[in-house]
Each structure stands twice: as structure tokens, then as C-alpha cells.
Symmetry: C2
Subunit: 136 residues, 2 copies
């Protein structure tokens, strides 16, 4: 079966780019710089459902996402998490956290309602992220 | 500088075993089967502060921890997360989640006070885990 992005991820996020394994999404919540990596493989819920080679690629791309967040936002801490209690499709959150962000030091999930980006801020953020993932 | 386990992790967890890179800890909370992997490297906060080779080893050992939880507990979902907002030392949570667990579907952090294992249950759980990580 072909890979299809989960409907909830599609509703909550914007497409940044596709890496060799993962689709990179921006969570539409301006409270935190928040990327989600989704391996483009059908019917995968757990990271260990991926082949060993796919897992290696996932974590290389995860490190790239972490470095992009570090270089663009200089966060106090990165949160990297594969939970999937609500959205079953395997996906890995990468969130740039700050001592002054609304949820600190708690995890971000379920803390505060999502605050979507303003339209121009969203376009600028997507441009910045696309450039950071594809520097050529 | 030599690796020293963070004091809070030491207080909240029990030692299961040492893998080639990581110390494996059992969180002393009987509400969820909950392992924490701590790379035995001094002064590391972020996964991407590890060398590329150490990261590869970390994720191999993480997959091993996930498989141990799956084989012993058959959870509905695995949660794998490196947060570190409270304990700065790099560590990766591996939590076996169930539809009937106290926090489901929310993440476990900050949901319910920790419920320590009874003494005999703790000893049995540690024995079972040590065996699962070191089958020889």
C-alpha cells in the first residue's frame, strides 16, 4: 500500500520538504518552533516496525531536523519524541523549547491550545525552514 | 570528566544493566513499564551532542529497549522521548503504554504522582528485565 499522510497531521501541519525517508512538517503552532518527521512508509506505527536501515535514516534525518532548529532558533532545549497515542501513524516530534515558552518545563502536548501562525509569519517561517533543509 | 548519573535519575530509578553505550534504568513507577536509557558520556544534554557513531549506538540500544518492552508487556503503543526540560543530562524515555493506563492518551509526564513498586514486585521486574537484556 502507498504511503498516505494521516488526516490529522495534514490538518494540523504544513509541508516543509521531503527528505530521503521522511516528510518534514511544520506544526502550525507559533508558540514553539515544532517540526514533525513522518517516515514515508505505509502502515508503520512504531519506530521498530521500520527496517534497521530505515531506522538509521530516520535518526540521521532527525539529527538534521534538530540541527536546523538549533541553527535557526538557538533553543534552550530540544525535545525529540515519538509518542503516537493519538495519531497512530509513526511520527517524531522535534520541538525547540525555551525557558520562557508557555509550557516550560512541561512537555508541550495538551498544555495550551494551538495558536496558528499569522499568514505572513507562516510563509516566512516555511521559507526559512525550506532553505535550512536544502541549502543548495 | 567521567560520567556520573544525574542525582534525580538516581533517586527516581533502579539500575537494570549497562549496554555498550547506555545505562538502562527502570523508572520506579508501577503505573507504566518505563525504561530510561542514559548514554554514559559526560556533559551531554542533546542527542546531537553525541558523535555520529554514539548516536547510531544509542538508537540501536533504544530499539533493543523497545523490543524488550514489547516482548515482556505487549503494549498498545510505545512512547520514545528525549525531553530533558527538568533533568538536563541526556536521557531517552521508553514507556509501554496501554489504552487502560492512568494517563492514556496523554503523555505520562506530570499526569499522576509516581506510584513506587512494592518491594517484591520491584525485584521480580528487575530480574525479568535483566534477563531480557542479557539473554545469555
Amino acid at each position: 500500500m502507498a504511503f498516505t499522510l494521516d488526516q490529522r497531521l495534514q490538518n494540523d501541519c504544513l509541508h516543509v520538504c521531503d527528505l530521503s525517508l521522511c516528510r518534514v512538517l511544520l506544526m502550525n503552532d507559533c508558540q514553539y518552533p515544532w517540526l514533525i518527521l513522518v517516515p514515508r512508509v505505509a502502515d508503520i506505527a512504531e519506530i521498530i516496525d521500520l527496517t534497521e536501515q530505515q531506522q538509521q535514516t530516520l535518526w540521521r534525518e532527525s539529527a538534521q531536523a534538530s540541527r536546523v532548529l538549533q541553527s535557526l532558533y538557538s533553543p534552550d532545549k530540544l525535545n525529540v519524541a515519538a509518542l503516537g497515542n493519538v495519531v497512530a501513524q509513526c511520527h517524531v516530534h522535534h520541538i525547540a523549547r525555551f525557558h520562557h515558552d508557555p509550557a516550560w518545563p512541561a512537555p508541550v502536548w495538551g498544555q495550551h491550545p494551538v495558536t496558528p501562525y499569522a499568514e505572513d509569519e507562516l510563509a516566512a517561517t516555511l521559507d526559512k525552514l525550506k532553505l535550512a533543509f536544502n541549502p543548495d
